[in-house]
Symmetry: C2
Subunit: 319 residues, 2 copies
């Protein structure tokens, strides 16, 4: 367990407990599915961000735990439908739900988790939090639909940043802004919290996209350059494209034109050697610097220091 969780260490098991409770009194398979998803779940970074932000700003602990559980369940539900759509069989090295269940059961389980996430959001008793929650869900889904319908070839930085906002940063914004909404603070502090979540989330996704190029399969749990293999062009490849607009391998991927394993391997090596990955990391660090600057406007406290550490961890975790 990393250090930055220390101020909310005691609350994290409560968040897990709140999530597990959501399958009670429903079909037993739903409990089994939720248990599987929570065990194979990640580092709970979104609930940690919500708990730390709310702790820093003075939110009521019980409502904060409810919010954190709601956000992690929303994240979980989107992953269930994403993995089904992508036909992904593994996530973090563990079998996905759709690898074991029919598409019908997977769709419905995702729907059920959405329903319970919405229920938890409503239990914060804040209409503003609930509105933000449902707007975020619409943003995430709209982003996936954009990606689905645009497909290969849309290789602009603007498109990339819009996409990672919808996919990742929007949920970090939800975590920080909703935590602020549950706190005794003014609108400008809510806005500052939202902006912090935005910068953190953008950096988080850029680093994720970098790790897709630098990570070892054994660590990341999926093949190197899995995005590129699916025709998805992320920041390292976009930086490379800027320097080498005529690269035949990248253009083959962009045009979805007869590319294979050998194409991808040549391209990954070329991208690694071009300095494009370091350039992407520098961009992630710019987001983190802005996040750190926003943090300095909040009162100094253990939670703020933890969020500073967490921000640093986000850009260092590739090492």
């Amino acid at each position: 367990m990393v250090n930055f969780l220390a101020p909310v260490q005691a609350l994290m098991p409560l968040v897990d407990e709140r999530m597990r409770m959501q399958a009670a009194n429903h079909h037993p398979e739903l409990g089994a599915a939720l248990e599987h998803l929570l065990i194979s779940g990640g580092k709970r970074i979104r609930p940690a961000v919500a708990l730390l932000t709310g702790g820093m700003l003075g939110a009521d602990t019980d409502r904060l735990v409810t919010l954190a559980a709601s956000i992690e369940l929303l994240h979980t539900a989107t992953l269930v439908h994403d993995d089904l759509i992508d036909g992904a069989l593994l996530r973090r090295g563990i079998a996905t739900l759709n690898a074991q269940w029919s598409p019908a059961a997977t769709v419905l389980t995702g729907d059920f988790i959405f329903a319970r996430a919405a229920k938890l959001a409503s239990e914060t008793n804040s209409v503003s939090v609930i509105q933000l929650f449902s707007e975020t869900l619409a943003t995430i889904v709209n982003g996936e639909i954009n990606q689905l319908f645009s497909g290969h070839g849309l290789a602009s930085r603007e498109n990339y940043f819009t996409r990672i906002h919808a996919k990742t940063a929007s949920m970090f914004e939800l975590a920080t802004a909703a935590a602020a909404l549950l706190s005794p603070v003014h609108d400008d502090t809510v806005e500052a919290a939202r902006a912090f979540g935005y910068e953190l989330g953008m950096a988080f996704q850029i680093v994720d996209d970098v790790l897709d190029f630098t990570g070892e399969q054994a660590t990341v749990g999926k093949p190197v350059a899995s995005d590129l293999r699916q025709g998805l062009v992320t920041l390292p490849a976009l930086n490379f494209l800027q320097c080498y607009p005529d690269d035949p391998d990248l253009n083959a991927v962009l045009e979805n034109n007869r590319y294979n394993n050998a194409t991808i391997e040549r391209l990954v090596n070329a991208i690694r050697e071009s300095g494009s990955i370091e350039k992407a990391m520098d961009e992630a660090k710019i987001f983190i610097t802005r996040a750190m600057n926003i943090l300095l406007t909040f009162p100094d406290c253990p939670e703020r220091r933890a969020l500073q550490e967490l921000s640093g961890y986000i850009v260092d975790r590739q090492l």
Copy 2:
């Protein structure tokens, strides 16, 4: 247009407008999909019930229109995922979304409509309405999961009534209870409104299940006994089973054991001739009588008279 809509006639186009607005500023395909779904949508009976109940109890019109749009979108989203799961290519004689789009696009469109329904529910500014909304979504999805995992052979009346509550009556309860929650009334009136929605919804689904046996394919837009063909045993078949527990055709369906078109046709004729359909209609009428009795506890007004007419229409529509 049937008469019972008269008191809310002017509001129905506002409900449609509120629904259509939900795709604005999102991917254009979402607008096209929503338009298609709204055009192929049904008689808007759920929003009409919400508008009439709220009108009767004195709810604010604008919040009521928002609620009605939210409920119809929730209903629409569940149909999108249902049709995908069942592989249904037609609904009311019009192509379903999944008949034209990939499973991925269909899943995401359903998710998007859920998100917008939740957003609209939150715009009623009532935490109680939002909680009821998300509980109803969980009830509906849990019911579908029960049906998916139990499959053929679960032929008890208790199971049937639980299933039609989850599938249909829960959303009628939402329509009437949420409309009451937006009205200046006490808790016991909210509870009476909910109970009215329950009785109405149960009757509505029983009659739907009867129409599956009596309707002509051209009118209903699907083959006669489509439920039975999928191994789904509804009230007419359950009544038949009570009189003829050893019927080989029904047992073949229940045991999912080599049944075909000829089996179904023999079985439909036997059910039609046994009086089981009339018995099911009598049961629907008992629910409607209870609904009517609850209505009499509300103040007499055009909306109440419309709800009385609507209740009568629900059991008469098979004629």
